[in-house]
Symmetry: C3
């Protein structure tokens, strides 16, 4: 049985196949209106996320399926100390597939280990959020017609931004990608991510200016810069306007360039940009629904259900994971496991923190 | 495209047409069971309101449609600072129509301005709650057979009561309506509403006695008197029993008189009144569902979707709205707009507070 | 009209009939997929309970019905002071049947008294939780093929455990049942329950050892021991491991013995027990859904709807109920009623506390 915990759980071919399905759903809505009749999706949201939850629910309903679930932990058995794998085993008696959002990193994997039905990771803390990346990839493909030969600017909080890291990992698998990393110094991409890029042979440039590479960009991926990330209000105020996208900053951009944003936005994109044809962020949410539909169809297909498990391997490990937000440090009686890396070091099997 | 933000967005003819549809739904349930198959309603409740939400959801399901949504703000992206118009634009990718409840006045209009799908205002703070008024109107029509030639008593908190103001505005459009306003002095109808009534040529009487005009009434609309509205517990205790409807106070009422209440009630109607055939408040909740069904059908009809926008007009305005609960004072980067009135003054376009 | 407030509201014959329906649903899923098309279940959960709520929702959806509702009181009108019987009367306009969870004892009966549609008690405080017991009974019947001639061990918190008391009451109606009560001294079965057992002619043994009677057991019903029940952390630590089920404690058990648990569990059953074929607790949750399906079919049948009311009788009563968590002490203007017992004493009609 297949799960989706990380976007790279899908091969490049499988991703193109999901994109093709998504396009077909968009073009032939009626053909899919009853394809999942009698199936149920459980949306287990241990922390609120309206957009992601509603997108999953709309996707399931548009395929003829039904939805059960909860939208925050206080409505769940977690408040009574139940572990996520028990929750998954119980809910497997009520539904055919689970979309799980959890504040703890590695929670989706912990659930998938014991689950008799497929688990979709709808966000596990700061770790992964693969269906957002699926939305991003379909948007790039629909807007520009390709996933190769692209110059992609990523702007904002590159240090903590989960969606940015996930998109970089996904794009590394395509040909001739050039990354432009645009951020204040204190929110630059983590060193290890930069090194991974170099090792993978990617082209990458760092800049503190949103305008410097604007004419080169095919895609500008905007993210929020949170005030809380700065040591002081002064430090925040000194940079915030530089990373705010306004119509004047777009003057030098190509007509075919596309602006993406995982949303919600606060003020990092001015509302006056919304009507620019290059603004693709509202279409991006539509694409997110299409990709979730394609994903539900894939994971509930006979082929995926009879496929061998794609859970990451691991071995028993005496060390504790150093990440306090890791599932191994947050549930009763959790047995720590780790994965050996090529350079001889190890990472936690669940949250992928280096040991 | 048509929205429903205020009950008077509907013409008198359209209202009679909704009533006719509601009656037809009640009489021919099976005919409507699949009429909205494949359509989705999003119930975006930024503050809890069980009754209204469940009524909308039941209405949509009984027409064959489906429902997604949230029941309080903590489950929504608003907690991350997203503006309601962004929420509406995103949700428009997941649903065909939105019912929105929001604690901030003017929120539904702010959402409707940018929304590519119809918005129903399911309550925006103390401003409007038009679908409650639709329930009231259908109830009067079903119980008494007419909306003209009525003596209507309105009892309770007439100063703050949103449902009361909305019902008065709606009834002003019918012929030969006489209003009896029954309240303690401190909760009398606002002066400007009384003046608007006189200008509109309505007959209106004020009284502090629930029994004085009882024999005249065709409709008695009860509302709750909240303890919090009084300066002291003594002031509250001095009047509360006078505005509590009990069987003895009903002795002088007509047999055809009908008691309405927007519910929930606490103790302002004694339970011993519930079995009186004049008690129409539980039937009123049933009627609310019927009118919401009629409304969903209307707003999703091709005619309404291709109709010109019925949003209130406005012009740019340098002043700030004085209402701290107005949407213009509660969202980032909101551009204030106002509407000029006949007497040369202006009101806020969003919450209708006089500038 | 029939309601389900207590498991013994169902006769022994009716219970066997529900079990037969549940088995038929499991065997012939397609036959039931549209049997409740057009019907709506309202899940009114005044306190959160994911498992129970999702089980009801899955049950209704699998029969072709639809679901509306809320998952915690803050989303409900109760926060505005509405009484449960008003809530039920209102919701009866939106749905065909109600499953109600409420922290106050007797709430489901208070709702049922005025409700024009059937009420299922999905848990009313510490009082009753009959659909859990239905899950237990189906599990015993499916796993062991009978409900008579059983030795049943009940382990854990026998003093406060609602599911334990309910299961005992239900099993008392079957032939040749022997109870083994396994608990620390401070959490022994209440004296009056023991006496009721003796009067009913049941065989019952008390022990503080989980292992003493292990070889005799046909069923081992585990429950959680909450730290909060003990006067000190030391008192808790002194006993907790004795009542934790581990593979070594199971060595002397029969191969046909079955382990049940109402779930969620924390650590009272080691995870290493999960893969033992005797561990039936995850199957038990599946059985819970089947029994809820059978129950929905029964209560929505014409026979049950036209049957005389099965609400417990009562008479007016001058005394107040001594239970502060009783509905009679928690809602405005509640008229106390009591029921006379054979021994001349009285109990509260709502929460069954002795007066």
């Amino acid at each position: 049985m297949r799960h989706l915990l990380d976007v790279c759980d899908l091969s490049v071919d499988e991703l193109y196949s999901l994109i093709a399905t998504a396009e077909d759903i968009a073009a032939n809505r009626a053909k899919y209106a009853h394809i999942l009749d009698g199936k149920k999706l459980a949306t287990l949201f241990f922390e609120p996320s309206t957009r992601t939850r509603l997108s999953f629910e709309a996707a399931m309903l548009e395929l003829g399926g039904q939805v059960i679930g909860f939208s925050e932990a206080s409505s769940s058995s977690a408040s009574k100390g139940e572990c996520v794998s028990d929750t998954a085993r119980v809910v497997a008696n009520y539904a055919d597939i689970i979309a799980m959002r959890h504040p703890i990193e590695g929670a989706a994997l912990a659930a998938a280990e014991k689950s008799p039905i497929p688990i979709i990771n709808a966000g596990d803390g700061g770790h992964c959020h693969p269906t957002q990346t699926l939305a991003d990839l379909l948007t790039i493909h629909r807007e520009l017609g390709r996933l190769d030969d692209l110059t992609i600017g990523l702007c904002g909080d590159l240090l903590y931004g989960r969606t940015v890291h996930s998109l970089i990992n996904a794009m590394l698998r395509y040909k001739n990608i050039r990354f432009i990393f645009i951020s204040p110094k204190s929110l630059r991409l983590p060193e290890y991510t930069l090194r991974a890029l170099e090792e993978a042979g990617a082209q990458a440039v760092e800049t503190a200016s949103l305008e410097e590479y604007m004419p080169d960009l095919d895609v500008l991926y905007m993210t929020r810069i949170q005030r809380e990330r700065f040591p002081s209000m002064e430090a925040y105020n000194a940079v915030k306007d530089s990373y705010r996208l306004t119509p004047d900053k777009l003057e030098s951009a190509k007509a075919t360039m596309r602006i993406l944003h995982p949303l919600p936005r606060v003020n990092e994109i001015a509302k006056s940009v919304d009507d620019d044809p290059r603004a693709a962020y509202f279409r991006q949410t539509f694409n997110g629904k299409l990709m979730r539909e394609a994903l539900l169809l894939f994971l509930l297909s006979d082929a995926a259900k009879s496929a061998p498990s794609n859970l990451p391997k691991g071995e028993k490990c005496a060390e504790k994971c150093p990440n306090p937000k890791c599932i191994t440090n947050n549930e009763y009686g959790f047995e720590m496991m780790c994965t050996s890396l090529e350079d001889g070091t190890k990472k936690c099997r669940y949250c992928e923190t280096k040991l």
